[in-house]
Subunit: 908 residues, 2 copies
Amino acid sequence: MSNKFVYVFGPSRTDGAADMKNVLGGKGANLAEMCRLGISVPPGLTISAEVCTIYTEQGADAVRKQIEADVLQGVKFIENEMGKKFGDAADPLLVSVRSGSRASMPGMMDTILNLGLNEEAVKGLAAKSGNKRFAWDSYRRFIQMYGDVVMGLKPESKEDHDPFEVIIDEIKEKKGVELDTQLSVDDLKHMVAEFKALIRTRLGREFPNDPWEQLWGSIMAVFESWNNDRAKLYRKMHDIPDSWGTAVNVQSMVFGNLGDSSGTGVAFTRDAASGEDIFNGEFLVNAQGEDVVAGIRTPQQITLEGSRRWAELAQVSEEDRRTKFPSMEELMPEIYQQLLKTETALENHYKDMQDIEFTIQEGKLWMLQTRSAKRTGAALVRTSMEMLAQGMIDEKTALLRVSPDRLNELLHPVFDRAALKSARAIANGLPASPGASTGQTVFFADEAEEWVAKGKDVILVRQETSPEDLRGMAVAKGILTARGGMTSHAAVVARGMGKCCVSGAGAIRVDPRARTMTVDGKVFNEGDWISLDGSTGQVYEGKVSTMDPDMSGDFGKLMDLAERYKTLAVRANADTPTDARVARNFGAVGIGLCRTEHMFFEGDRIKAVREMILAKDEAGRRHALAKLLPMQRGDFEGIFKAMDGLPVTIRLLDPPLHEFLPHDEANQREMAAEMGVAYEEIKHRVDDLHEANPMMGHRGCRLGITYPEITEMQSRAIIEAALNVKAQGVSPKVEIMVPLVGGEREFISQAKVIRATAEAVFAERNATIEFMVGTMIETPRGALMADTIGAQAEFFSFGTNDLTQMTLGFSRDDIGKFLPHYLQAGIYEQDPFQSIDQQGVGQLVKAAVEKGRSARPKIKLGVCGEHGGDPASIDFFHRVGLDYVSCSPFRAPIARLAAAQAAIQNAK
Amino acid sequence: MSNKFVYVFGPSRTDGAADMKNVLGGKGANLAEMCRLGISVPPGLTISAEVCTIYTEQGADAVRKQIEADVLQGVKFIENEMGKKFGDAADPLLVSVRSGSRASMPGMMDTILNLGLNEEAVKGLAAKSGNKRFAWDSYRRFIQMYGDVVMGLKPESKEDHDPFEVIIDEIKEKKGVELDTQLSVDDLKHMVAEFKALIRTRLGREFPNDPWEQLWGSIMAVFESWNNDRAKLYRKMHDIPDSWGTAVNVQSMVFGNLGDSSGTGVAFTRDAASGEDIFNGEFLVNAQGEDVVAGIRTPQQITLEGSRRWAELAQVSEEDRRTKFPSMEELMPEIYQQLLKTETALENHYKDMQDIEFTIQEGKLWMLQTRSAKRTGAALVRTSMEMLAQGMIDEKTALLRVSPDRLNELLHPVFDRAALKSARAIANGLPASPGASTGQTVFFADEAEEWVAKGKDVILVRQETSPEDLRGMAVAKGILTARGGMTSHAAVVARGMGKCCVSGAGAIRVDPRARTMTVDGKVFNEGDWISLDGSTGQVYEGKVSTMDPDMSGDFGKLMDLAERYKTLAVRANADTPTDARVARNFGAVGIGLCRTEHMFFEGDRIKAVREMILAKDEAGRRHALAKLLPMQRGDFEGIFKAMDGLPVTIRLLDPPLHEFLPHDEANQREMAAEMGVAYEEIKHRVDDLHEANPMMGHRGCRLGITYPEITEMQSRAIIEAALNVKAQGVSPKVEIMVPLVGGEREFISQAKVIRATAEAVFAERNATIEFMVGTMIETPRGALMADTIGAQAEFFSFGTNDLTQMTLGFSRDDIGKFLPHYLQAGIYEQDPFQSIDQQGVGQLVKAAVEKGRSARPKIKLGVCGEHGGDPASIDFFHRVGLDYVSCSPFRAPIARLAAAQAAIQNAK
């Protein structure tokens, strides 16, 4: 801990700099940096974040003792810089007090403005500004703010109104006016008196008249706010150490509301929506920052070009524009030139697009803030690529600047912004699969198919989806479920399909019998239009128009760049030739997971599958499997062709057999009629297959071990398909994957069937291909036994979804009941199904990598769980040394960028 | 590998000894040892087990080349010893050929007797024995045995009869006789010719006439049988290496059927049922071993005392006994004295109770076999304790000799042996919970209660049981389920109750609506009598009378001895004061697991529990919990009193809430009526609580974290109960256990509630007690994070049931569909829920022990899963260094003995 606790900034002296965020917080450091750049910033002082720790550990008295002299000197510095005096009855120095920590952190103290006003100073302010109304209005605002934030005068219960607002309303009512601005100076004086009386009555103490008392109160309130519940929760959730503390900024006030040569505004050094390299922003003449935010007046554009664009969009004539809404470039050309020079300097200095705030006080420009600008995903990509081209940043910086998840915005349709403004949100669910969609509600998968066949756009609405809904999901524009988490069936399947999905929208009650969904008492019938935003989880009433994604050339450049830095290969999970082509288009260099069971649901296949399940003996099963063989072979041929030359990992049948049977009587009777067997037989078989915990039941390789004929059929379909396409000049790279292996004996048993089948096919065809046999590592035991398994298996693919379920004991279909609570309470920081639990599950992955390599140094290692598309998880997989990640095709670009970032960051 | 392959044994020379089992197999080593002791054994030779490996690797020719000379010399040795010659037409040497490996191993070759007989030798045998019939019958038996076992003449399909038996039947039919003994010498000669013709026709080769060819054929057949499927499977299942191989014993034949001075018998050096130190056995005059086995003639007793006891039981008069069934002691006093001397010598030599076989050929006693005798659990305990007292063995040997599982027989009722003989077994299930019971079938738990209330004995028969059946299970004599494994709900609860249970009897179809169970087409109605043997899994039709266990003083002595050697403490799992008392009586030194949820099902409690579940907010839940508080407190007081001075680990609520609600409409409607709410409300809540995989759902500490008021109520009940009993002079040792913890944050959150509640109660009462707060380690993540959890928790108790479920991904309710197949295929060697999976789950336990101790060196470590009562698992827990195991009260003695054995074996 250093001994310097107070840092001043101003034209004549600046103690801090941009690289001192740990001491000064982000805001303080940037203010200091601007001063150092010679930019005009209202002078001020920053109390170091280290003092916050003193406050927490030793209390307010200790703080004051340690920093009082420095703060005094600092204020003196500000007074000198501004030529004003704190509490002066002639020309008082007024200051703002703000918190500012190392990490951007909502949840702490609001800003206190106009501090320093009292019974004397208000008169000085009135005299100096020549504006009594301004002075008294400033005073009453200060009292109100300070009373609330520092003195803690809050509504007595959450049903109550703000007591200060109650007084304002009473006075306005008495005077018969509607707007604050209609109140007279006397009204405001009266208001000040009432406010003070309120404080006296409610708190039993006087509102402080002494500016120093006001200042110390505010400083301590900032420190105190570091430890309020909201702030603590935020830190827990974002892993911000309590020890960081917050700095306090005390800065001279400047006023944009002192007439027509004053004003205030915000600007961006580039376009925040498109990323275009064009300076832009808005300002208001004779206004304060809060007026811009309040949105009562229409702000004017800063540049002439921007103003003309705005007028075109807003359908304002050039005449009107020039007279009523002139740009700053026209109205205040000198200030405009200063601002232009400043924004250029700031962007060049920070080497990133800046979001700046400024105030013009009586013809003088003051910069109040600069920071990296928030922007759309598209803008993020474009600014990064253009700054790289402009030589402002290097390749690594360009790659690291784009948060991979932001690419989502570029890869899916989005709602038209204008249309969204008038849309009514009716519910909020989980952003399960990104994109925007609009359609008519239907409540059954088969009806979705019927409607779509008639040319309609539908949203499939279900309590939760099951594999039986797959075909309906495939044709719907979007999927909405009332239950289920980010990794529920609906969510996982939708992401795989690249289809918009909102899951777990708990406010919605679905009544499939009545074909209605009810939200907040409002009933939506079949055919009613709704719209889903799968990127935010919002559900809207009615139609909202969407826009197709614009994949500009910058996106391609970014991907090319990523390719040069990443070491992890990125594959995709795809179950059909169409998916495979999408994956390849998105840059995937292989299929990491092809789920064969999804092929079983279509058309006649489900019949044959059911026939197999109902068969009484092996002969009966073989009979049914023989019907499936040509269909599976055809699927594989399509996938091998789509992935010509690239590896395709095919997982053998995984889900429990009951997933292929209907569970309700109506469908069971239908199936019985279709198959010509007694309903009771179907029911009996379904009951027989029922499992208490299907996730840990008769599935995975357990199926292939009890029914080797299934493995045999699938292996034959794969090998025959590979030989067929090879004969057509295609180069298939086959990897056969045994699921849910927990020890080497299970693997050996299945590998034997696979290899024997391949040998048989080779002999029949008198032709061979190369292929690999490997396994999923998805049970904790599989990970623990990875050495003995690795001695047998040619590759591992970590199935981190199931591995997470079993390691944590979290059924992902059931976590909705407790995980939200866990996240809120900070027991887990992230949904472990979205981002891998590095502490727990990660130990198993790491151990299995080491064990697998110890047994087989060249073993191929990948991951095919949902985590394969999550940037933080990808960083982890890079660090433990996997060869590839596999994710849904639409996340492949995200994974590629994340892989590049992982390579860069871990090389440091 | 040594160069000596053939070892002879006989009066004049013996190469082997008892400690050469690895080379000679068990049988060969013991035969050699008897020769060394000067006991009269028919001379023979043993071909070393090493030769089996040569056979497997290089084939029959290589074997013959390597050992031909030695075998020739060995046969010469036998000829010299016996004064007979192989294939001699005057007095031929006949031999038996038997396999014999290091470990007792069924599945290999059957014995070949009378080898050496051919067209000439049969005449010699007839002449020498003066008994043509004997000679030709021996010859036809030899051909039949050799033709089947060595030449492989089997029925053509499994539906066909044995072709040799077909010939016998044809001849008998032609002659119009029923018994083999009614056939003439010519009939037998004809039969020999027919047998040889059969072999010639079916196999296309002659039956060998050359004794040497017969001998080599038999030797190779023994080696070949080492690799038959049955033998390989057996080895796989019992972890016997293929490399051990089998030895071959070629031994001179002796005949007990050469007149009234011949005979054959078996004897035990002590009583195999009671263990009493009394020589006993049976013999038949003029008979061969197979006649004893066939059970056509009533055997006579060896000792006079035994004969008198037998006569009393069989209600045979002393006159009849003496004339028709005299003892050997009376009939052949000299031979008897020789036998007595021999059995004493053998027991003293082997220092264990022996099971011996002998033949008397024309007044000469020959010993054919000696081995450790199989005996009942009671006999095992008694013989061990008496041999210790007699100074024959030391304490460690006495302890190690009793297989802990055998104590089961002493701790539960058993069927009356006599009654069992006439009982008809109708089905076979898993021996889920030991003991024997008989009662009338009922199909519903509440009806079980009603019937029992009327004074009836019932067996509760269910498809599978659920927590709703608990009260019915508690009153039933036994429980039978059609589904579920050794660790199904029924099995676990029944073992906890010490109640007889047969689970997973798949042949039974239960129809609760019709109140019937059907087995093999036979329908059993409600009220029909059945009997269950929970130690074997057998289900019998009708009543079978049972006997209470006899816990003799030797049992107590064994337990005292175990206590002196073991280092692991043994606790018991007990949920009620009654269970706790039983546990203490069985020597448990604490409660390792008290499941609080079992207390929730009784009487009014379930109502309050349901009220809590239906409550709409925390206030409603608190209202319902307040009703439960005094009941829980009362339970805990009872348990603390029963365990005065001993630790009691109480686990907080664990199961998902839906387990407390009825799942069928009828019961839901009843509940609705009882609680005065709408049926739909109940149904909706049940649907709401439904989980796809309840094992990994909203349970364990996840309940306490979402509803801290439950933890608060339970903590209060525990602490108040402890203070109450302390005021009465009882010393409660309280350990509060948080279930299903996966990381330190879950534990901290619950420990905070527990400790705060305790502090509040202490303040109210102005009194305190000591207590510990710890956790179950039962998720893989909990084990992986044991260092950070251990920094917080004062003890760990490994919940190895759930840890096994999650590590393996085996839902124990669902493993019935694949685990039997896995065990049969050798993928797992044991049911991992019965004996801990040391390779997989064991890694996690070991790591967690190390991590826990690294964080808190004195952390108390125990296990409370089903494995706590399994000897092999106890050995593992001893090795990884746990402080205690906890098991069901009835297994506490087994655990205590197993713990002692673990201490002895691992000190070696």
